[in-house]
């Protein structure tokens, strides 16, 4: 992870760590904080705790997003302090805001290497007034006006997955969010997996492959790399930590202490897990295996 981040994540980059609730690569975010990256444009649908931590750590210059809360719990307080102009650091945080559909459409355009994506949306809302990059286009057939969003092509996208082979051919299941589009839209792609598998495992079920090795810059093996997010079939979401974040992030000093203890004071994800030996037992997934299908002819 250390090498992948130092090689492929540079100051000033547009960085996407995707995953909708599922497979959010906290391990990568923590390594970016440890390496002290600055002036990043952080983009994802739901900044979630990981971007709240990176904002608190001073990595972010700008945030591109569509829903900035702590799901089912409350606020992302570092984000709020920055946007409400209450962060001690000051400076504040530039924001560029869409709806989920708008962000998904931006990644879809980026992945297809089109400059824009059309969608039927935003009529009657104040979003286009708040974000001038939401525009419209006239249909060449019906003449009707459709909303448009511009392509999003990140410098680097980091995707966490259940498994990949050494060449980066990556398979995931459960919620897949917008990772495929984000990866294809990106200049560089870092894949972080729970398990490195033989190429034969990938080839035994090719319909499960979401990201092909040809677009992957680096493969990192990092078990539990998504915690407190989760990996279907590997470990559950740590809802207790998401709840705890409400009070941790509410107090800048507590948040700083959290980062010191769980990010700066540990060398890597293994160290992070070693500090919390009870996690594995509490969150390890039960078995609920699907059956295989026949690819013969």
């Amino acid at each position: 992870m250390r090498d992948a981040v130092s090689r492929f994540v540079q100051d000033g980059d547009t960085v996407v760590i995707e995953g909708f609730t599922h497979l959010i690569c906290f391990a990568a975010g923590h390594e970016i904080i440890r390496q002290g990256r600055r002036d990043l444009t952080l983009a994802r649908l739901t900044p979630d705790l990981i971007y709240d931590q990176m904002i608190a750590a001073g990595c972010a210059r700008k945030l591109v997003f569509s829903w900035a809360g702590n799901p089912g719990v409350g606020s992302l307080h570092a984000f709020r302090r920055a946007v409400e102009g209450k962060s001690a650091a000051g400076g504040g945080l530039e924001i560029e805001e869409y709806s989920h559909f708008g962000m998904v459409a931006r990644f879809s355009a980026g992945a297809a290497r089109l400059p824009f994506w059309p969608l039927r949306n935003y009529m009657g809302t104040d979003l286009p007034a708040a974000n001038r990059r939401i525009r419209s286009v006239a249909c060449p057939y019906t003449g009707e006006a459709l909303a448009t969003v511009p392509a999003l092509n990140p410098g680097v996208t980091i995707v966490h997955a259940q498994r990949a082979d050494a060449a980066g051919n990556t398979q995931m299941w459960g919620l897949v969010g917008v990772q495929k589009e984000a990866a294809f839209a990106s200049e560089r792609v870092i894949v972080v997996v729970e398990e490195l598998v033989e190429e034969a495992v990938i080839r035994s079920d090719p319909n499960r492959t979401v990201i092909p090795g040809m677009i992957v810059s680096a493969v990192v093996v990092e078990p539990w790399g998504a915690h407190p997010s989760y990996a279907q079939g590997y470990y559950d979401r740590d809802n207790d930590f998401y709840v705890a974040w409400e009070s941790i992030s509410r107090d800048p000093d507590q948040l700083a202490r959290y980062l010191d203890e769980f990010v700066h004071a540990v060398p890597d994800r293994a160290g992070y897990m070693a500090k919390q030996p009870q996690l594995a037992a509490r969150l390890k997934a039960k078995e609920r295996f699907s059956r295989g299908v026949n690819y013969g002819f």
């Binding site: 805001e97 709806s99 989920h100 039927r120 935003y122 009529m123 459960g174 919620l175």
Partner: protein, 246 residues
Amino acid sequence: MAAVAARELSDGEVVFVGIGLPNLACNLARATHAPNLVLIYESGAVGAVPARLPVSIGDPALVTGSLMVCGMADVFQLFLQNGRIEVGFLGGAQVDRYGNINTTVIGSYERPAVRLPGSGGAAEIAVHARRTLIVAKLNPRAFPERVDFVTSPGQRCAGRARRELGMPGAGPVKVITDKGILEADETSGEMVLAALYPGVTADDVQRGVGWPLARRAQLSAVAPPSATELRLLRDVLDPKGLFLKS
């Protein structure tokens, strides 16, 4: 509120489920009168049968045993924009006279007094779901005459009706509150008082609303939660009281 919301759902309908009360309402409906309700979560889980109360709309329990899991581009393009969603649930910090919802900022957008999470999927749900149900507790600050920011469009936005604006869905047809139910008036598009909870007066509701609230000629009475509904909600669906405060 969860029980009242549940009664708004018909068996076999396709519902775009939000977390919290809407999720409780949908699962209560499935456990009572609407066993074939199809639950779709913006996270990509279709036909979910959560074995536990999901804390987030991306909970792994929504995936395990669901009918289909698809990417979010499919959720928004093939299901929502395609017109396949019959009911969408919405809530927010502010709901106004025409059912416009604000989940973005209190105060100005540039210098917000309070920064809220933003749209998420709410804007497109408000545009495309065949009908939406708003769930919110009454309080004059939560029900202003006009919202500070229109995140999700209601029946009229800046004086124009949603049909003129080209929105496919019917928009917010009802606002389910903790004291009564408001309905969109077919002609004016205004949210008007339609039903009262037991022991609640029209004035009680008016006190929780920041505009002069019109009333239906006939106000119906909302039946209190049945013993079954209460048992399911408290013992089965939300035993930890995660979302059932009070």
